[in-house]
Symmetry: C2
Subunit: 722 residues, 2 copies
């Protein structure tokens, strides 16, 4: 396990650091492979056998790309070239004959250029020499602007915009990026039963992959109906996904279907002329390590954590998907939650940046991300989150111009107040709500997210050294911030109202804006307490029935120190799904619904997704607010650990960081932490004077203490009782 951890750590460094030496990797234009692969993923959604692609603009990679590398060799060396696409090679500006697959590089300073065209897949290259290897130090452009005049002199290329190539982390010539597939393993069903006119197969839990028929013989049609529930699989007219195949003598006896599906149950009806002996499935999954962990004395919470981890794993694929049955698209609002949970489970950076790149797509911006206003704002926020957790400055530099482009789009749609309202073509989503939610006018919730996005722009401008932009976005965010309380705080109700229409504050109070005002720390303590009392803990305010918005609701309550209350909520809400037989967490769960009502959504009896990434939020809540681990400086260079029992007897677990895993144990008498590196602060309360196995405990006042954590792999044991 230790070896595995180190290997993963190495991989992380590889993807996080700008320059890596020695190891060749396939490279491409930044973001392009992510868009291409993500398109493939988004296009795998089907609805009852019909292709169901997204309704937003699907971008394409740059089909013609030039890679270049300046090198300085002490001795000549041979390189081998592997290319996805048609290509040419120049050495010091001289075009080489044909398309060489190997060539000698002379000693001294030289420049190598490789230009690749590929319409169907992404132009990528893999070059391997003794010292010259493809990595993210190579430059790449989609227009080199190198023309020659009538004398043959090449133009100056000072205006050509070069980016650092994206290292795709496929580290051998055979791992051609276009051939990439997730891992697969064969799985047997729990039971196979003759049911009605067909066969019902139960795989025991929610799963994802390809159904395999064994000893398939004969000739005729076989219909395969998938269900996340038994009811769905048996409902041949209303199940959300299905396959129909024609069997004939050309089929192999062992036939695995070509399209992946999500299901627990599979119901098969075949013509009498066809027979098969057995059924299994190929489970498809992203090969990710479970680095984060959580255990406590409450077995229901432990089970919730496990099912949440499985839910996140099922939805963490080539990109982070919302759900695996019906939706199967990357959605920004869903994805930001997956990223945050991922930082407490897999700490996989590639899938985060891939999803961010896919969601942004390319210029021109013609609509909000996924057409949803709030999803645009989550996209901005997710980038600073990513930087904070990973410290990957290279990625911020690479994505920054696209952040500016998207913010330009948003700023082009603000009203006279500098606020955002849903214009024609904008989807103001917020949440699925069981009750009326006004989407008209200026929503408090949207302004808060917009303000946070402007602050994110200012932060990222600062990080990447764009001072003018930093000032601009600071001015804009301050201007908007200064209006928030005036325009939305109701001094009678002592809460933020939902929206403002025609310059008038509305009467409705909803949870959304209030939650984010607390989470973003946009209000003082007095208002926070008022929000807690008047909104968050007030049952007369419309309840949230999606795990999606419960993520933020419970996070805001944790931020207010209400872990014991949150523990109960987790047990009731996620425990409620488990009691209904959930083997993965759902898109929406309203405890007031009964029986098969739980499966319905979008006007369809089985429209609801029973495996939705946003269902897995306990992963984040338990890691961030119970184990209490969070980065203070980018990439965990500094971090804080502020553990909380939340009413439990004991908790323990690990949280992944770029330095390795932080381990935390706490009961009522002891705290134990292991810090793998970086500079940490353990903050805790103790009624009596605590003792530490090492280091000096600092008293913060009000029963609060702090201990500085240093060294790699040191265990600190704190005794809380005097």
């Amino acid at each position: 396990m230790l070896v595995k951890r180190f290997f993963l750590f190495g991989l992380l460094l590889l993807s996080v650091k700008l320059f890596c030496f020695g190891q060749a990797t396939w490279i491409g234009y930044p973001g392009d492979y992510d868009i291409w692969l993500g398109n493939n993923v988004n296009n795998r959604r089907t609805e009852r056998g019909a292709f169901f692609p997204p309704f937003w603009k699907m971008d394409s990679h740059y089909v013609l790309v030039e890679f270049s590398k300046e090198f300085d060799l002490k001795a000549p060396e041979e390189i081998r070239l592997y290319v996805e696409g048609r290509y040419n090679v120049k050495l010091d500006g001289k075009l080489q004959n044909g398309a060489p697959s190997r060539m000698m590089l002379p000693e001294g300073k030289h420049v190598l250029n490789i230009k690749v065209h590929n319409q169907a897949c992404v132009p990528t290259i893999y070059v391997e020499g003794k010292t010259v290897v493809t990595d993210s130090s190579w430059k790449v452009t989609f227009e080199d602007k190198e023309w020659i005049d009538e004398s043959g002199k090449a133009s100056d290329k000072s205006a050509t915009i070069y980016m650092n190539a994206a290292a795709l982390n496929f580290n051998s010539p055979e791992q051609r990026p276009s051939l990439f597939k997730l891992s697969q393993v064969a799985m047997s069903p729990l039971s196979i039963t003759e049911t009605g006119k067909g066969t019902l197969v139960d795989f025991g839990k929610e799963t994802f992959g390809y159904v395999t028929f064994h000893q398939l013989r004969g000739r005729g049609e076989v219909c395969i109906y998938y269900g996340e529930s038994r009811e769905e699989a048996l409902s041949v007219d209303a199940c959300e996904t299905l396959d129909k195949i024609q069997v004939n003598s050309d089929n192999p006896e062992e036939l695995t279907l070509l399209d992946s599906k999500a299901f627990r149950y599979v119901y098969i009806e075949n013509e009498d002329s066809v027979r098969f002996e057995n059924i299994s499935m190929k489970y498809e999954y992203a090969p990710l390590d479970y680095r984060g962990s959580f255990r406590c004395n409450d077995e229901e919470i432990n089970r919730i954590w496990d099912v949440a981890a499985y839910t996140l794993h099922l939805t963490s694929r080539e990109v982070f998907l919302d759900g695996i049955k019906r939706d199967r698209w990357a959605w920004s609002g869903d994805a930001i939650q997956s990223y945050l949970m991922n930082y407490y489970l897999f700490f996989d950076t590639n899938t985060v940046t891939r999803t961010i790149n896919l969601l942004r797509g390319k210029d021109p911006v013609t609509s909000h991300i996924n057409t949803i206003m709030d999803y645009t704002f989550y996209w901005f926020m997710s980038i600073y989150d990513y930087y904070l957790y990973t410290g990957d400055l290279h990625f911020i530099r690479q994505i920054y111009p696209r952040m500016v482009g998207l913010m330009d789009f948003v700023l082009g749609r603000t009203n006279a107040e500098g606020m955002v309202e849903g214009l024609s073509g904008d989807w103001v989503f917020v949440d699925w709500a069981d009750g009326f939610m006004d989407k008209q006018g200026e929503l408090c919730f949207e302004q808060l997210l917009f303000c946070k996005s402007l602050q994110t722009m200012a932060l990222c401008a600062g990080i990447t050294g764009n001072e003018t932009d930093e000032k601009k976005y600071t001015v804009l965010s301050n201007a908007l911030f200064s209006k928030l309380e005036t325009y939305f705080w109701d001094t009678q109700k002592k809460a933020f109202v939902h929206n403002r229409k025609g310059g008038m504050k509305s009467e409705q109070v909803t949870r959304y804006g209030n939650i984010f005002a607390v989470l973003f720390d946009y209000v003082d303590d007095e208002k926070k307490q008022a929000i807690k009392k008047n909104v968050l803990l007030n049952d007369s305010v419309m309840k949230i029935t999606t795990p999606y918005m419960r993520f933020y609701e419970l996070a805001s309550l944790c931020a207010l120190g209400e872990q014991p209350y949150v523990t109960k909520e987790i047990k009731t809400y996620w425990g409620g799904m488990l009691k209904l037989g959930a083997t993965s967490f759902w898109e929406k769960y309203n405890p007031a619904e009964k029986g098969s009502e739980h499966y319905a959504m979008y006007g369809r009896p089985f429209g609801k997704s029973l495996c939705h990434a946003w269902g897995a939020s306990p992963l984040y809540l338990l890691g961030k607010y119970y184990l209490g681990v969070s980065p203070v400086k980018p990439g965990y260079e500094e971090f804080s650990i502020e553990p909380s029992l939340g009413g439990l007897e004991w908790i323990k677990g690990s949280v992944p960081t770029p330095y390795g895993d932080i381990r935390v144990f706490m009961d009522k008498k002891t705290i134990k932490v292991v810090s793998p590196g970086g500079k940490g602060y353990l903050v805790f309360s103790s009624k009596s004077v605590p003792q530490s196995s090492q280091g000096k405990i600092e008293r913060l006042g009000n029963s609060r203490y702090r201990l500085f954590l240093e060294g790699d792999g040191n265990e600190f044991v704190i005794t809380l009782e005097g």
Copy 2:
């Protein structure tokens, strides 16, 4: 021939008119197929066996497109669907199972939607029913923005931008757009001779296509060196294009090479272990009708017209190419001349719009077209030319947003004077010149083209009903126009100077700006005469040595009534190339050069293209200024014929229009014209009172007369001697 003409006329109407009934055709997103096909063409350039793609941004088609059609049927009807790509079908918003290849449409009003994904090729569809057929009345979008809320209600799509689909003029299910190929016909060589270590094959004239080996046997390497000249083919180390193939027992005995090349000569060196008995080639060509014609008493001029027509035909391919040997890319400055010549020869509209779409590409605009400032301006100008010749308002509407986008790019790069200068990354081309040409500061030539482009924007804004834009561009063009004489006219030299640097007029006078001031009618008659004397007919001003700029130079002289002078120039310049053995016209011709100097360019001994579209300008000059035919209102709804003998005894010929061909004959005593439709004006001079076979001749004064031409196919015979 008449039938053929009518057929062509029908095709024209099909492509020019917005709505056509009954005939199904493959449809796609406007411009996308042109970009995709054009990319394929641009990627066929090779240099000594190496792939040689462009240095500018290569765009991609929209990979996901939604087609829709509202229909109202009196009776149910079955449609068949043919699709390039993966697709789904909705009827009245309801997704159909799977991907139907046929379906019944119910009677009454309904909506059909077909959504197609294709990354490698362009998403296109062909639907054929009794009345419901794919044509340009179908709507198309790259983002339908149709989402559903939790109740299943679909969003309103009022903000979705729909375009009319592009009819691709492939009119049967089998003619899949992605499979389109130009026509081919086998051609035998004029001679095959053993030369040096190999075999020299002479095809007798410049040609284009694929070399075929007959009775090819053995095993080993065969090297094929191409030459537009004998010298080039024999120069195995310096010829511009070559192929190397490995022959083995798997090869068919008759082997046609996969890549097309341009050549007259082919020199083949093969290993002794390989033998072949014969060589031929497959000539590849666009199947275009020679509608325009020109004949006169001077056989050299007739030969020039024929070679010019052949040159244009060789370079008129899927798009209009600059040259067929080395360059093989679409270039805007070259293309506008091809378009203008095409209006006097083929009158093929598809290749014009395809090239315009390819050149423009997609947003965002990141550089000038082909990176060349002047080429951006020619692009704007070519669009109004196209409208004037064809009357295709539908295309203007479709391209207008992209015109605005490109002009925004230009306006973002003007200096404090509102003028354009070459900024970093801009190629200020103007012309290849044998002598120093300053490219710094504000070039008079570039400002003239910019001004004309702004006027074009105003015109097209007006045509498409964008009043605000029309005003904006009128103000901008007027502002620029008002500065032209002040800033560039030298009152001493009585000519426009070449440029202005640091606010100072330069001393150099070149032909470029002066030519366009005359052509654009930007100066009064006095200044025109001064330009003629001081610049155009002044040998001390740097001479033009490309047919490219001679096109405009001679056109401006024709506009000044100097046809007799131009006739001599045509005979000297183009006749000069013929005397050197040209079988197609060249990229550059400097009569002062000797022998193999004529083949050299770009610092390479055979760098010059001996078949360059811009070499074919006599087609335009003779059609427009000798036969004298030009449109007055869009699509020849009104036209003028102002024939000129230019010192010849007699001339005759035809000029294609959307109504059919205008025919003109003239000698010193007679003018005969046949008008196929539209309203025409014949304008001519006569020393004595002329007589007409029909219609009433109007006297304009100063020996000038006018005759109104009406009716379809009427011949008017005018007797000039009293």
